[in-house]
């Protein structure tokens, strides 16, 4: 059994260099349209990583990751409209989601709900938010100067500016660089958590909650902690998404939003942190390519892929390819290969 999520320093370094390199090189080589597309892919990769923390590392089956994503987006939108400056709203988007997750998680984990029930409760939460956000079209629903606008969504939301300089809005290229750097930061955060001693307790709780509990760890608290971190990251992703989009509507809470995050994770490999990033980029690129003048419905491809992966490649692309290469290496490589784990 290969140890998953363990800090492979070489791999982490390579991934980090790759992301950083993309952030530096791509703005010079690619057109604006492609860059804008890559920006939203990177935002979604951060979202995928957030579920990777909650579900992949922590084993908390969260069907409602979109709840925190959407709420993060709305928090940012409301705050930035009121403040006219983006530094505090970004912090709020993260903090509010951490707080919401703390309350919801307290309710779930201290009540010792089973995995499946946690899934249902988080699903219900996102659906409640979806319904609620849809029914706020009355002008009465406003927070400060920001009207929520129900199903029409909130248009023309200010983007991110350089901290404490409200006049200095980021250009699309700068937004791209910021998003890539954020992706790198979140990736390193994931790695740091997984490599820390607390991260090992989290992994132990996922693998065998009873044993972890018998060893003296408070598993409810551990799950709560990882749930809060994952949700806060999802809130951050939501804020970056609104920055990219300039618009937020109740669709961010939708079932399909939560679903596609899981699909990215499954396809990329839920046992790794690189897998969800790869899955998010690859599948979104695929879907947007299919969307352009094609006979084939994107849902057919996504759904088909998900079924095929769950049945045939349950561990996802990256772990399968890596193990395949390793076993090839062991078979054909020169002499003894180093055990990697």
């Amino acid at each position: 059994m290969p140890q998953t999520f363990a800090p492979r320093h070489a791999g982490t370094l390579a991934t980090s260099v790759l992301i950083l390199g993309a952030a530096v090189v791509l703005p010079q080589t690619l057109g604006l349209f492609t860059l804008l597309q890559l920006t939203v892919y990177a935002v979604m990769a951060i979202l995928a990583l957030s579920l990777s923390i909650t579900w992949g590392l922590g084993g908390v089956l969260c069907f409602g990751q979109a709840a925190f994503f959407g709420l993060g987006g709305y928090t940012y939108a409301v705050a930035v409209t009121n403040f006219g400056e983006s530094t505090l709203p970004i912090l709020l988007a993260v903090l509010v989601q951490a707080l919401v997750a703390l309350c919801l998680g307290w309710f779930m984990f201290m009540g010792r709900l089973s995995d499946l029930y946690v899934g249902v409760v988080t699903l219900c939460t996102s659906l409640i938010l979806f319904n609620f956000a849809n029914s706020t079209s009355d002008p009465w629903y406003r927070i400060g100067s920001a009207a929520l606008n129900g199903f029409n969504g909130m248009p023309a939301i200010r983007g991110i500016n350089i901290p404490f300089l409200p006049g200095a809005l980021l250009s699309p290229v700068q937004s791209f660089v910021l998003t890539m750097l954020a992706l790198l930061a979140v990736y390193l955060l994931c790695k740091t958590i997984a490599g820390s001693s607390w991260g090992r307790v989290v992994a132990a709780t996922r693998q065998n909650p009873l044993r972890a509990e018998l060893m003296g760890y408070d598993t409810a608290r551990v799950k709560l902690g990882i749930f809060v971190i994952g949700s806060a990251v999802a809130g951050f992703a939501g804020c970056l998404f609104v920055n990219w989009n300039g618009f937020v509507s109740p669709d961010v809470f939708g079932l399909s939003m939560s679903a596609q995050i899981m699909i990215w994770m499954i396809v990329g490999g839920r046992e790794t942190f690189v897998g969800p990033i790869v899955g998010a980029f690859a599948l979104q690129a695929l879907v947007s390519r299919l969307g352009v003048g094609s006979e084939i419905n994107a849902n057919v491809v996504l759904g088909g892929l998900l079924m095929i992966f769950v049945v045939l490649v349950p561990r996802g692309i990256l772990p399968t390819v890596r193990d395949g290469l390793l076993s090839l290496g062991r078979k054909w490589g020169p002499g003894k290969t180093r055990e990697v784990n």
């Binding site: 779930m108 029930y117 249902v120 319904n131 419905n297 849902n299 759904g303 892929l305 998900l306 079924m307």
Partner: protein
């Protein structure tokens, strides 16, 4: 007085509707421990079966009550053979795979029939109670739901096939040792659950309109009802449906239907917290 009567009737209709679109899922989840997130798409297939066969000239009632369940059951049989049988015992994986199936089916149906609403006219007229009216068709739904429940209970409790199915869910090895083929029983159970979903889709088609994505509106509610019901297919799901139906209907009456729906989900969250094993785990141990 009229108002009380009509509100009660509406409550009953709401409960029956929830039960009708949950019962197929309850059988598949309660008996096979397979979470079928494509449940809404089985309904959609049934609804399309009813609409298209009605358009081809078939009697509406035959289309809804016979064609819809048959089409969905056939589809379920294929799905079980191709997809679900690889996943028994992997609860979370069944959920993910059927999520994929749901997207896939919606996509394929959209490609075939287009993303337009097809509909069948609502049969029967309006029942007048004083100043208020209620579609008589709603009462048909209540009737059919009761009939389906009675039939399912009867089959599970009294027939040897039902006992065999329940035994297989408890201990497939023992059933295999006794000379039955558990795979065949699984396939049949899944097909019956799918057929019931199709029946629900066919019956609800005149009320909701038929589009490829119509399943989304039901799957979350059905899923929540069944999970809060727990392992008892009829008693648990019935209780859950009753509670959610009453809550969402009364909140809808005092506010809007969107808030009513949200209140259903909120009630589910609180109920699950209070009864972490569902109603069945608390009140109906060993019941059907």
């Amino acid at each position: 007085m009229d108002l009380v009567l009509i509100l009660t009737l509406q409550g009953v209709v709401a409960i029956a509707t929830i039960l009708l679109f949950s019962i197929g899922l309850a059988i598949i989840f309660g008996m096979m421990r397979v979470i079928n997130l494509a449940h809404g798409e089985f309904m959609m297939i049934g609804a399309y079966g009813a609409v298209k066969s009605h358009e081809a000239g078939l009697n509406l009632w035959v289309a809804m009550l016979v064609v819809a369940p048959l089409v969905a059951a056939l589809f379920g049989l294929v799905v079980e053979r191709v997809l679900i049988r690889h996943l028994y015992g992997r609860l979370i994986d069944t959920l993910l795979a059927t999520w994929g199936l749901s997207l896939f089916t919606v996509g394929v149906v959209t490609m075939i029939f287009g993303n337009t609403t097809s509909g069948v006219p609502t049969p029967l007229g309006t029942l007048r109670i004083g100043d208020y009216g209620l579609g008589q068709y709603n009462l048909v739904i209540v009737g059919v739901t009761l009939l389906v429940l009675a039939l399912v209970a009867l089959v599970l409790k009294r027939t040897s096939a039902g006992v065999l199915a329940r035994a297989t869910m408890q201990n497939p090895e023992m059933i295999a040792a006794l000379g039955y083929n558990p795979r065949r029983i699984y396939a049949a159970t899944f097909a019956i659950g799918s057929g019931l979903a199709g029946l629900a889709g066919g019956l609800l088609a005149p009320l909701t309109g038929v589009i490829p994505a119509m399943g989304v509106a039901f799957v979350a509610k059905a899923f929540i009802t069944v999970i809060s019901g727990g392992a008892a297919v009829i008693l648990g799901t019935g209780t859950a449906a009753a509670i959610y139906g009453v809550i969402s209907q009364s909140v809808t009456y005092v506010s809007t239907s969107v808030i009513g729906e949200a209140s259903l989900f909120l009630a589910a969250i609180i109920l699950l917290r209070l009864l972490p094993n569902g109603f069945a785990g608390r009140f109906f141990k060993g019941g059907v």
